[in-house]
Amino acid sequence: MAQPIVKKDDDRDDEVEYSPFLGIEKGAVLQEARVFNDPQLDARRCSQVITKLLYLLNQGETFTKVEATEVFFAVTKLFQSKDNGLRRMVYLMIKEISPSADEVIIVTSSLMKDMNSRTDMYRANAIRVLCRITDGTLLTQIERYIKQAIVDKNPVVASAALASGIHLLQTTPEIVKRWSNEVQEAVQSRAALVQFHALTLLHQIRQNDRLAVSKLVTSLTKGTVRSPLAQCLLIRYTTQVIRETAVNTQTGDRPFYDYLEGCLRHKAEMVILEAARAITELSNVTTRELTPAITVLQLFLSSSKPVLRFAAVRTLNKVAMTHPMAVTNCNIDMESLISDQNRSIATLAITTLLKTGNESSVERLMKQITTFMSDIADEFKIVVVDAIRSLCLKFPLKYRSLMNFLSNILREEGGFEYKKAIVDSIVILIRDIPDAKESGLLHLCEFIEDCEFTYLSTQILHFLGNEGPKTSDPGKYIRYIYNRVILENATVRASAVSTLAKFGAMVDSLKPRIFVLLKRCLFDNDDEVRDRATLYLSTLGDGSVTETAKDVKEFLFGSLEVPLTNLETSLKNYIQDPTEEPFDIQSVPKEVKSQPLAEKKAPGKKPAGLGAPPATLSSTVDAFEKLLSSIPEFRNFGNLFKSSAPVELTEAETEYAVNVVKHIFDRHVVFQYNCTNTIPEQLLENVTVLVDASEAEEFSEVGSKPLRSLPYDTPAPTFVAFEKPEGVPAVGKFSNSLRFIVKEVDLATGEAEDDGVEDEYQLEDFEVVAADYILKVGVSNFKNAWETLGPDFERVDEYGLGPRESLAEAVNAVINLLGMQPCEGTETVPSNSRSHACLLSGVYIGNVKVLVRLSFGIDGAKEVAMKLAVRSDNEIVSDAIHEIVASG
């Protein structure tokens, strides 16, 4: 296909002179624009000049302030012409120039005249232009006309007015909100797009009033919304309402579900897709609710339209992350998509299959993928590598074939990002699957023998230094590492020296050999390499087989006390004003600054790109741990056990938004209050949270970390730490209020006033519950795990749960109470069943593995009974689980 296009290009070279814009130049066109001032306007000529100007702007050319003003004034003259075509170009030009406020006045009267014209096109376009360039003051003058236009019988005029209203709502909401009645009338319009625009605007006007939105949805879902676009919109609003009501009542029957399901039979594919996607994204969606949506998506998979296939496979890919079982029915259709012409579709199909595949199909899939990998671009390969990594973590027993696959593709050609993805995957597998460690390390060693990327070489060497000494035969890695010292560039050589030293420090028997190698490095021609070698030789002892002192290890390989970014800024400052005094590392601030921002983004972010795996829990815990350990006051709390999901302590759209993350340690809890200041005119300083723990008797406050300053729209955390009895899942209720000093900010200069006022802001209460002490950790084979733990510390008891709304609701309640990970899809209760068994797994504080078997039964009076069997390594823990249920 590429052939004819290239040929055409060659021909083009000769034809090029036919382009009407060849050799066009800004200065010349601006000269030409003088025709706008002619007393006898030539409409055609003027139109051409405007087109040229627009062409220039479109190509990325910019006008200076003076030029823009000149053009603008010239263009305003063209309102004299009665030519429709020219007028239309004038509108376009004015929008492109976006004149300043004082210039707008010049055209206002002309535009207002057009707004009242009898020509529909004038009315529609004049409104759009005027609303685009106007500010609040002018708007009050024209408000009357816009209201009229909203209910104009010409749909183009009505749509123009409504669309402008949607834009204006961002800047001058108080005015647009007054148009409610007209907008409501327009919702009933017969014209499809008017209905769509009116619905958009009406919803945006009311979006902060939950009740009104709910009413709107209720009335419209019953009626007939004609336009497919408006129907899609209504589906989105409906799911929003469902989301908000679902929090309050956890009943079995979901309100509005019937409406969504009905939309699956709509005649427009757009609506079907929107509804199917909405259903799959419902929180805690059940298999029964999912089935009809999956069925229509499955039909789409074999559509002749790529867009439809893409949409379907992308949706199924997302479903596969949470409900892999529901998607397995589509596996056959999906396998045929592996050979789809459109590689985006093929990649999505592969990654979906990787997610839904079971242990036995892994080998077959890998075979299919191997052929597929050779003909896709790097970016798709990265997606596949990520999917394989998560598959391997899911089926640790299959690590051999998956690790082999990774090492094979590591040897093939590929760019940096791709190679990095593979190396990262292998590193993660080595970390999480102990059996894979030795083979994984060897694969990495082979890779650095022929690696063109310095960054990857150094990363692997660093990793090798940490993991290699802990293996059964550390000696075999030395050869690979020392080869780097002989063969590579200075950067890699230097990190190889460090890695060698690590082996020497950790493995006493290797020390004499390492010393010989390090001594050779003293003759390297690079300063850094020599320096490192000298340092290690002089600190690691005398080269005999002796243990390296702990403080030496700590000094050489321990982590830096301060964040690197802070150190960097401090060093830069130090270099800028040279002094005689040596640099003092104690002067570097230990606070982590930008961290919370990235932190906040991470959990809310949807899985990016083509079915990239969701950020794993452990990685966010890692981030929290890093953040907390950077605060000196909290450093001696030990290892972070669990960080809860953020709990909102304020209503949406209040002056200050605060949520809290509960960090659980062995003997402490730390509350991280993430605060956001939503008022541009304010700067908050010395922000603290005053916690009243009178309803949490076992907790006593031991410290807090105030937030020095909280500028507008920059979320930042403040911390409060509590001590609690060791290993005990202490629970309690905490009431909070935010304390701070408010300073006014001059918006023009951005500077805050010197004097502030102390103020306090009441936050909502929250509780530390038993579930906070249990980590959600799944097991791949529950039965095996259950057998392995054995009956030694098994505790069984029965509980009556009283009348519940449904079995599903009861199961959910117990899962939430325990905060454990449901296994093997047992959290979903088939409808109408009278009994249900549910398997849960988790890790209790103190790193005790806990497995739970729940058997539920429900009788005619909706009385639910439950049998709870707990196994763990520790009878106290088993009892504690029962305690949670008994007191919950």
Binding site: E15, N58, G85, M89, L92, C232, M270, N342, L610
Partner: protein
């Protein structure tokens, strides 16, 4: 939290990836060079596919639907959460409307010679990211109405011609 479907940009590029007409609605690409980089990436990524029928891809968390004809490449970009078929309806509207306006003669030279029509066409499809109209014949008739020049019979002819093509197009889509 904005639930309304929104369009991030509409691109019309030539067979070398150069701009014929583009319009950006989202602030994701604040400078012209960023815009050009985006266009270049989109173009290289989609170039290998023939896309005589519509095609779709993802790039930097955006969904891009596209369609090529002769030496013209049509693209519509939306966010990653957007309904693909909504984006496609915009692309289809744009594509067909240009076909009507250029009287079936859809190629770069013709497009540049009628750039005013193309720009007006884009203006009628999307307003600041909000979809205004997706029906090709409505879009084309709105654009074409504007070229009525009361004094010039020549332009009059153009409009009736354009309307005829629009009608023809309508019947064709009815027959399908």
């Amino acid at each position: 939290m904005d639930l309304c479907p929104s369009i991030k940009n509409i691109l019309l590029l030539d067979s070398e990836g150069k701009r014929v007409a583009v319009k950006y609605y989202a602030d994701d690409w604040p400078s012209n060079s960023l815009k050009e980089t985006f266009e270049k990436t989109v173009f290289t990524k989609t170039q290998k596919t023939s896309a005589r029928t519509e095609e779709i891809t993802m790039l930097e968390n955006n969904i891009i639907v596209y369609k090529f004809v002769q030496d013209l490449h049509f693209y519509v970009t939306g966010g990653e959460d957007e309904n693909e078929l909504i984006l496609f309806s915009v692309l289809q509207g744009f594509f067909d409307a240009v076909g009507i306006l250029l009287r079936g003669n859809v190629e770069k030279k013709e497009a540049l010679e009628n750039l005013d029509l193309i720009l007006l066409c884009i203006d009628e499809i999307v307003d600041g990211g909000i979809i205004l109209e997706t029906d090709a014949s409505s879009i084309a008739s709105k654009v074409a109405t504007h070229s009525i020049d009361s004094g010039a019979p020549l332009a009059e002819q153009t409009i009736s011609q354009a309307l005829a093509t629009a009608r023809e197009h309508l019947t064709r889509s009815l027959l399908k």
